[in-house]
């Protein structure tokens, strides 16, 4: 019986993962078209964290409600690497936080959605874009929840280059001191920043050891693997931990489009012409492969 249940669970998970892969693929295509339409936006950084965002929003991790975005007991999510706003916006629109048609005006004249998130947008908790802010704000939210004996969690998604900011480590010390076990930091560890490869000019390695040394539980996962992401996030939800949790998600910047992958020049570049054709073709091919 136990074996049958395990097989059944595995099949359910496989189906779920297949569905989430399809979601991530559709969202990547949406992000690409938003950026192409605007001639602006960080495509490769959005692709880097797509599976993380999809796991959080569609994997049953974040308790949020698009129809009641100010629900007091909602989980709080802060996109501290604010330049991945197109990915977040595509998801929030998909979940009904605001009309999908708003995405058509992304970063265009008069629209409220720009290249970095602003908290006036339904579903956005913090005004980010300047790096190194989100973890402190998240720690404040997490402490507020504890003071009010509220059960919601706070999740902060950061970039690995963002970990250059000293304020990240001020917040890390604070969260450990206050035993903010209702706080999760996810580091999108793609190894690249706006202009280069971190290891070549200012290494952040070893990230997992750094978070552990700062008093956090830390775990590394493959950041494009739904199986690994969902496992660690779901185990965390059930576990009673005494420390905040850092998830180091090993990712590929530009994931999903071959010429963008691991190439720093695509940090803030929107493909045009032949490259756009290739990007579309590759994402469409992935759609077909997932059928």
């Amino acid at each position: 019986m136990a074996e049958e249940k395990t097989i059944k669970d595995k099949n359910i998970l496989n189906e779920e993962i297949k569905s989430l892969k399809g979601k991530a693929n559709r969202l990547r295509k949406k992000v690409l078209e938003m950026a192409v339409n605007a001639g602006a936006g960080h495509v490769a950084p959005s692709f880097s964290c797509m599976e993380i965002l999809v796991s959080l929003y569609y994997g049953g991790i974040l308790r949020v409600n698009g129809k009641d975005h100010n629900w007091p007991d909602r989980d709080r999510f802060i996109l501290s690497k604010g330049h991945a706003a197109p990915a977040l916006y595509a998801i929030l629109a998909d979940l009904g936080f605001f009309p999908k048609s708003d995405l058509d005006g992304f970063a265009k004249n008069g629209n409220r959605l720009g290249c970095h998130p602003e908290n006036s947008t339904p579903g956005v908790e913090a005004f980010t874009g300047s790096l190194g802010h989100g973890l402190s704000i998240g720690a404040g939210l997490a402490l507020g929840a504890k003071l009010d004996k509220k059960g919601y969690s706070t999740v902060v998604l950061m970039g690995d280059g963002e970990c250059h900011e000293g304020s990240v480590w001020e917040a890390a010390m604070f969260a450990a001191q206050y035993k903010l076990n209702n706080l999760i930091a996810i580091v999108d560890h793609n190894g690249l920043s706006a202009t280069g490869i971190l290891e070549q000019y200012l290494s952040v390695s070893p990230l997992q050891n750094k978070w552990e040394a700062f008093g956090w539980d830390a775990i590394s996962v493959q950041g494009h693997s739904f199986a690994e992401l969902l496992h660690v996030l779901r185990v965390n939800a059930k576990q009673k931990r005494s420390k905040p949790l850092a998830i180091i998600a090993l990712t590929t910047k530009g994931k999903g489009v071959s010429f963008m992958e691991n190439s720093p020049i695509w940090h803030y570049r929107v493909p045009i012409g032949e490259q756009l054709d290739i990007a579309r073709r590759e994402l469409n091919q992935e759609s077909e492969d997932l059928q």
Partner: protein
């Protein structure tokens, strides 16, 4: 004798402590900066007192997060650390998000005289003034500081409160003598010359007025305690018919209340003759107590009176 006679800093925090005892949502955060009554916070209401360590950037972010959960947050540090070290956090986490957090800076102007330029509060008004959504309060004495600590109910966005450690003797005897919502108070009237002063320089301005009146120069004194938003219309209504207008502050002349008022009068058709008195645009490299440094910069009562007299003769 009321507690505010202890001075500006202690009256503010004693008053805040009394409020915090009644309201669990009030949270005081410091970046390892002390005041006598902080011990009472630590002992009696420890969950409402946070020392984030020497980490001002994090202090502002934590305040932002807590404010979003409905907490009434006060952050506290020496002026340059409360305003400059974390300026971009103030800009984004508090002002862009327009959250009701009070930044309390201790050591206005040359208050921390002997600690040197690193600890002087000489640019804070300029910095805070340039941020949208930010309000700036610069109380003249402990009585006003006391009231500011108790007035948070209607606060919708961030505010900066610039305090002196001492701030004695008092400028006011009763709270009814000033109206916080008006933004300034006219302590004495004149058709000849007004001094618009802020913080502890209000007391100095009153002494200057006394000194000059004995020499037949009639001086009106205005306490500009809310620097932003400035009640421009109200202020202009008072000073427009005076022949001369002087601003007085313990702050660099660049960007302080002198600049703020010059922006006000620059767009008027007919304006009083105008003089800005403050700290010159240079870092202080000389040590001494506050009186010594005020004399160095001609900000003592005698020097101010003299410079106004010379100026009046030449206009």
């Amino acid at each position: 004798m009321s507690h505010w006679t202890a001075g500006m800093r202690d009256s503010f925090f004693q008053s805040l402590y009394e409020e915090a005892k009644k309201n669990r949502n009030i949270i005081l955060i410091t970046s390892d900066t002390g005041a006598i009554c902080h011990d009472e916070f630590k002992e009696k209401i420890p969950y409402q007192y946070i020392n984030v360590g020497i980490a001002e950037q994090n202090m502002i972010g934590i305040a932002s997060g807590l404010a979003q959960t409905g907490k009434i947050v006060y952050v506290y540090a020496i002026v340059p650390f409360a305003t400059m070290r974390c300026y971009e956090q103030i800009r984004v986490d508090l002002c862009c998000m327009n959250l009701p957090v009070s930044i309390v800076g201790i050591g206005a102007g040359l208050d921390y005289s002997t600690l040197g330029a690193t600890h002087h509060g000489t640019e804070d008004i300029a910095l805070m003034r340039s941020l949208p959504n930010m309000e700036i309060y610069s109380p003249a004495d402990g009585l006003m500081a006391d009231l500011l600590a108790r007035q948070y109910d209607n606060q919708s966005g961030p505010r900066y409160i610039r305090l002196d450690r001492e701030g004695l003797p008092l400028v006011y005897e009763e709270e009814s003598e000033f109206d916080l919502s008006r933004g300034f108070s006219v302590l004495s009237k004149s058709k000849q010359l007004y001094i618009v002063a802020t913080g502890r320089m209000v007391y100095s301005a009153l002494q200057v007025a006394k000194k000059l009146s004995s020499q037949s120069i009639e001086v009106g004194v205005i306490d500009l305690f809310r620097i932003k938003p400035m009640n421009k219309e109200g202020l202009w209504g008072v000073v427009k018919d005076a022949k001369c207008l002087v601003t007085l502050e313990e702050h660099f002349v660049t960007g302080g209340i002198g600049t703020a008022i010059s922006e006000l009068i620059a767009v008027q058709k007919k304006t009083p003759s105008f003089k800005v008195i403050g700290i010159p645009d240079q870092f202080c490299e000389i040590y001494g107590d506050r009186n010594d440094l005020q004399k160095l910069y001609n900000l003592d009562v005698s020097s101010i009176s003299k410079s106004i007299k010379i100026w009046l003769k030449n206009i």
